[in-house]
């Protein structure tokens, strides 16, 4: 029997999970990566030795100039708004940004220790596995890439209405929250950065989910500093090892 809505919607997290579990581990070998990089590098090198064309002879130079004017105007308008409206840039959804900052403030200002029972504070790996198992999705759990930061703890906390892994680090009076959320269909792969109410926010979105760092507002962490931390932590997303095939399997059959 054909499902009645098969042409309008298809949402099946169980099937998605099974496919991810079966197929995500397939990765290209280092040798293949190296071969492809070499092939592309050769092509780039070829480009660089082509005789240069005078700037004014290049096609679409007028269009490019107009684009530059538009971009400069856009940046000026953005900076004007940021200096007046307290929100700098970009594609971070306003509600999400507000929810992230609100959760950061609420948790970092002394409410709860964010320690999962049975997990030592220095056991990052166990903390990551526990949070990922709890949420059934990848989480960003990693030691801070800079000296001087200490882990306060990690817990599942709501961001808006969505449960998120929430890991908190302290450094003197400063604090940084690391959130791991499921990706929504509207979000695009990429890096995000903005400031809201003196809190720097830096994040990234990829096929594994939506991950954000939020810095304390007072004392404030600069957006550049937070973005640098994000860039160094980005590769440390962990998947839960405790996969439950039996439950997923049963759901697939319904």
């Amino acid at each position: 029997m054909t499902p009645p809505d098969e042409h309008t919607s298809f949402d099946d997290p169980t099937l998605k999970q099974l496919c991810c579990h079966a197929w995500r581990k397939d990765c290209a070998s280092k040798e293949l990566h190296a071969k492809l990089a070499a092939a592309l590098f050769d092509e780039s090198a070829g480009d660089t030795i082509r005789p240069p064309v005078a700037f004014w002879q290049r096609p679409f130079v007028g269009v490019a100039a107009a684009a530059v004017v538009l971009i400069v105007s856009g940046v000026a308008i953005l900076q004007y708004h940021s200096s007046n409206g307290n929100v700098v840039a970009t594609a971070v959804d306003a509600q999400l940004a507000a929810d992230l900052v609100s959760r950061h403030d609420s948790c970092c200002n002394g409410h709860g220790n964010h320690q999962l029972p049975g997990i030592a504070l220095n056991d990052m790996n166990k903390l990551g596995q526990a949070l990922s198992t709890n949420l059934h999705r990848p989480v960003l759990v990693s030691a801070m890439p800079e000296m001087g930061w200490s882990l306060r703890g990690g817990e599942v906390c709501p961001v808006g209405k969505t449960p998120s892994a929430h890991v908190i680090f302290d450094h003197g009076g400063e604090s940084v929250s690391v959130f791991s959320l499921p990706r929504t269909p509207d979000e695009h792969d990429g890096r995000y950065q903005m400031t809201l109410n003196n809190h720097a926010i830096a994040g990234f979105v990829d096929s594994r989910g939506t991950f954000f760092l939020v810095g304390s507002g007072e004392p404030a962490i600069t957006p550049e500093h937070l973005a640098a931390l994000r860039d160094q932590m980005q590769s440390n997303v962990v998947m839960n090892a405790d996969y439950a095939p039996r439950e997923s399997f049963a759901e697939l059959l319904h």
Binding site: T2, K16, L18, C20, C27, L36, A39, P245
Partner: protein, 179 residues
């Protein structure tokens, strides 16, 4: 927007694992998959100037190259139509045989799911993987595979049905579902 060679190189290389995973689903063989990925990159390099970043991004563009390359190869090799109609896919048998395995452990259950997934028709696996693992939108899948969105969704539904049918007997034996 046209990209510099360096930007193109960076963007393309980031998709190596995606392309390899897809190639594995298409070819069922690690070596053939590596060949297909390399040939896809060669085609992509040649066609780089036709790529426009703003349309759907580089992922669907590269997937499209791989898809066309694979199915045109299959055409040549098997003298079959480029893409089967869904009705034909429905009546087709599994593309891989499920080998006997120990059914008494969670690992076996895992294995069984993996085998059932691999036994789906290639066109179903392709859509499933792009949707589930690579998080492509229906539009991106439709664009990459050059099929209507309705086809993408019906392939997802039928893939699920097919999986469910293949796993039903095993689930009954194991007591995972009630008879």
């Amino acid at each position: 927007m046209s990209l510099t060679a360096k930007d193109f190189e960076k963007l393309a290389l980031e998709q190596t694992d995606l392309l390899y995973r897809l190639a594995r689903r298409l070819t069922h063989n690690a070596l053939a998959a590596e060949d297909l990925v390399q040939e896809t990159f060669l085609r992509a390099i040649k066609a780089r100037n036709t790529f426009r970043l703003e349309q759907y991004g580089i992922k669907p563009w590269l997937v499209r190259i791989m898809h066309n390359l694979h199915f045109s190869r299959s055409d040549r090799e098997k003298k079959q139509p480029k893409a089967w109609e869904d009705a034909a896919l429905e009546s087709a048998g599994p593309t891989a045989t499920i080998s006997p395995i120990d059914l008494r452990s969670f690992d076996a259950m895992d294995e069984r799911v993996v085998h059932a997934l691999e036994a789906l028709p290639t066109e179903y696996k392709e859509v499933l993987m792009l949707w589930a693992v690579e998080e492509f939108s229906y539009k991106e899948i439709a664009h990459a595979l050059d099929v209507p969105i309705g086809t993408v969704m019906s392939r997802l539904h039928r893939a699920r049905q097919r999986l469910s049918e293949q796993l039903k007997d095993f689930a009954k034996e194991e007591g995972i579902v009630r008879e």
